[in-house]
Subunit: 252 residues, 2 copies
Amino acid sequence: MLLISAVNAILRQLSANQSMSEVKHNTLEPLGSLSMTDRVENILREYFKENGLIPGDSLPNEMEISQKLNVGRNVVREALSRLRMLGMIETRPRRGMIMAQPDLLAGIEKVLNPLLLSQDNLKDIFELRLILEMGISEFLFARKTDKNLNELEAVVSKQKDAVVVSREEEVAFHGKLYEMTGNDTFKRFQNLLMPVFEHVFTEYYNKGIHHNIPNPVTHHDLFICLKQGTPDEFRKAMYKHLEVYFDTITGR
Amino acid sequence: MLLISAVNAILRQLSANQSMSEVKHNTLEPLGSLSMTDRVENILREYFKENGLIPGDSLPNEMEISQKLNVGRNVVREALSRLRMLGMIETRPRRGMIMAQPDLLAGIEKVLNPLLLSQDNLKDIFELRLILEMGISEFLFARKTDKNLNELEAVVSKQKDAVVVSREEEVAFHGKLYEMTGNDTFKRFQNLLMPVFEHVFTEYYNKGIHHNIPNPVTHHDLFICLKQGTPDEFRKAMYKHLEVYFDTITGR
DNA sequence: TTAATAAATTTGTCCTACAAATGAAATTAA
DNA sequence: TTAATTTCATTTGTAGGACAAATTTATTAA
């Protein structure tokens, strides 16, 4: 029933493939030749949008879908399995499937394997972190509270004025900053990027292209600046703090 | 063969579930009870990492995996289907499966349906765009070229000093900026965020909370600033340009 | 009317089967 | 012997059947 409104579009999409077995190897297929599973996945996602489904809405059962689309239940299940992975749908035993709130970062999370990503992607992620760190000033100052600042102080007090801090301390400090933006997605996103960032930089650093930064800005300096300064001052300090990284992008 | 090194760990993980049919409803299962497909998906991703597989490496075939893991081929195929969607693996007919370079943003792309995302997620995305726009200055100035600037000029020349520009012009201008960062992932990421950003803002705007910005900074102003100014000046101009959005986050 | 029981529905899992595709092997021709 | 062609074997993609578990719904009993 639920699928009725989409049947026409679906049939249109599938009709070209109905007599697949005869033509598949005759027609010169475009590079992006899609499997049935790919197509069903796309059809379902479009169907969700077209029909304005929202979390909680129930979906037709697997058999109904597979019959309407004229594909095997296996194909439908593979497509649904993908959507389930992304958090778009949930199945409650016997109650059938319902729409859910997808996890925005689930897809990226699973894919963040430095060995698999292209060099370009790795470089992009490296830079993305720098962009983000430079962009959070306004949010930090708009949302800093005494409580937040005290917690941040607790983090930096362990590091004193150290120029070189451990990986854990680095993550603790910047992680706390991300948290203070009040943006959970941003925080999670940054935390995902961090290991990749380090992976890229270590690789780069091991190539022996080092620069000594004259007057390094420590975490403690940043803290003071966040407490007493302005967004612009903080950003300038952050730039200084990250200068060794920024140096890598200007080709120096 | 390829799976041998992982078999022990795998068996350990699966052994608790071998006699599933008898115990499933007796033992109080933790909330995050995983399906076989979920577990196989995790096992495979771990296996990729543990064994340091890189793009091009070939994988065991489906039967081998399903036998080694002692699950049905369907379960294995559902897990593989997920990984294929993320671009982690590819299958070449008859040659079997090989590792591939995953598409970093494929997962997010599929999930960006404003009707499904939580209000929190939508707000986060909205803010993320602002963070990114504020963070790109250094990259723009590091990578601007005469060619780039000319292309940007072509975009703004169509808009003159207009304060209100169409959706297309908005996308064209800012999209060009993202492009000029020289970071393809960033550009793609921003372009994904844009529609969501607009969706959130329109919703917000329709609630009638408007502010007149005294001296609006136009796209043309930004262009001039990028051409002749400094990163800091450009960022200040960008803040002004986006002020109507920033106003929404300070609770005004 | 309420409680207990039976039936029906739907997902998760396993299994079998087979077409298509293609690399490898075998066979044939020069 | 070598080259070309044919045959064979392997692996994925797809279809479809079967059944257990779980839970909603319907039915029956008190």
